[in-house]
Amino acid sequence: MIELENVAYSYSGGALFSDISLRLAPGSFHFLTGPSGAGKTTFLKLCYGALLPTAGQVTIFDKDLAALTRDDIAILRRRMGVVHQDCQFLDHLTLSENLALPLIASDRAAEDAQQDLEDLMAWVDLTHRADALPPELSGGERQRAALARGVIMSPDVIIADEPTGNVDWEMSQRLLRLLVELNKMGKTVLVATHDLSLIRAAKSQVQARVLRIASNRVQLAGADL
């Protein structure tokens, strides 16, 4: 589904990753952990095509990213739900309009997916906030909304960057349950987090593998987690 082969990534300041080979199998659940600044967000961006590797090959849905145009990657991204820590909404649109953005961007009329939209808002318990503007939402509401937007296209892969970074423990457990639910529906899930307690909590609900960024490499973490 997502495959990295001998991938390296360098900023102008130096190498961030080198020689990473990894495969995220369909239906798998992965956590990505590591200290702040280790490159978790950059790694995720490589996984959803927002960045191209400086060496090696990234393959998404059997397509080599280097051979694709920007528009090809955008179309590919419709099969991936991306959830950012800072959520990234359009502040002039209501919550329901923001949730429908992937539909609009893929030239599908939001009206045709009205029922899906309502179901999703109920799933993340935000029906009552449908007409609110993003700045009016709490941190937890924004995170749940970002997750709902990430899955409205029924993607095959969910990639979440610190989805529980700005919420309390109870809300982070709630978000985790939603991610686990998606994984049980067959979605591939990759979650970057520095919150080890979240990973421990997840292990009781789902068979998750943990990847750790250390020394410019991404390695499978051991039992110490």
């Binding site: 927002a50 920007r70 528009d71 955008a74 179309i75 991204r77 419709r78 991306v82 950012h84 990234q88 909404f89 359009l90 502040d91 002039h92 649109l93 309009e97 429908a100 953005l101 992937p102 609009i104 961007a105 893929s106 030239d107 009329a109 939001a110 009206e111 937007r149 296209m153």
Partner: protein, 294 residues
Amino acid sequence: MSLLWRTDGQAGRVVPPSGFTAHLLVFAAAAMAFLAVFALALSLASGRLAARWGDELAQSATIRIVAPLEQRDAQTEAALRILQTTAGVAFARALDTEEQQALLAPWFGPELDIENLPVPQLIEVIEEDTGFDAAGLRLRLAAEVPGAVLDDHTQWRAPLVEAADRLRLLGGISIVLLAVTMAAVVTLAANAALAANAQVIKVLRLVGATDQFIAQAFVRRFTGRALAGALGGTLLGMVAVLLLPPASDAGGFLTGLGFQGLEWALPLLIPLLAAVVAFGATGWSAKRVLGELA
């Protein structure tokens, strides 16, 4: 292009409203369109003037018989005989005393007794569509009617027609310059809007929007504004032209600045031109900025 004409307006809404900038663009489009209406009116009026001067003077010529009084009638008769046998001359006649007096009246008054003055006799010559050989006629007149001077109006007509043609060209150039200025204004505004909405573009890319979708959202917005502004400016310009004094001989060219008949439909092309210019300028700008933001 299809997205531009979608009726649901979903795509256009992804670009946040930009208030003051939007009003400036609408105002600029309106001002350009207003000026373009006048440039068009100038161009059309100049064209009409050139055509009129050309038509009125091109098909006629004048022969002056400058001779002593006792020879004038004989030379006039001789000139008329030559004209009757000249190919390309449809009609020729000598102006009578009253007509010549009327021509001189603005300078000497209606009481002038030209019978006893050595005023040249004028012969009006009307040409056929094919025209006549002016050089050949001059040679024949010189040989048989020594006092005859042929004036085929070329020396009058050419500079007048040229001046009118230049005015028409200036009107056309003005319209082109206004269109280019419009393109520059829209490009600047679109660049500013795209740069200011880098975050919006980032979000749209995150949710799978293609460059074409993003560009069209901006193109739609700017084309709509340019069209609205230009439509308003054009209508105001047409009203202003309508309120100009009507054409009259006394007013000459200045009162002839306006549209006639079907010409009134031409200014309505200005908003369409503005929309096309805005469409192209925003599309080009979006393509460039989206490439830079990649």
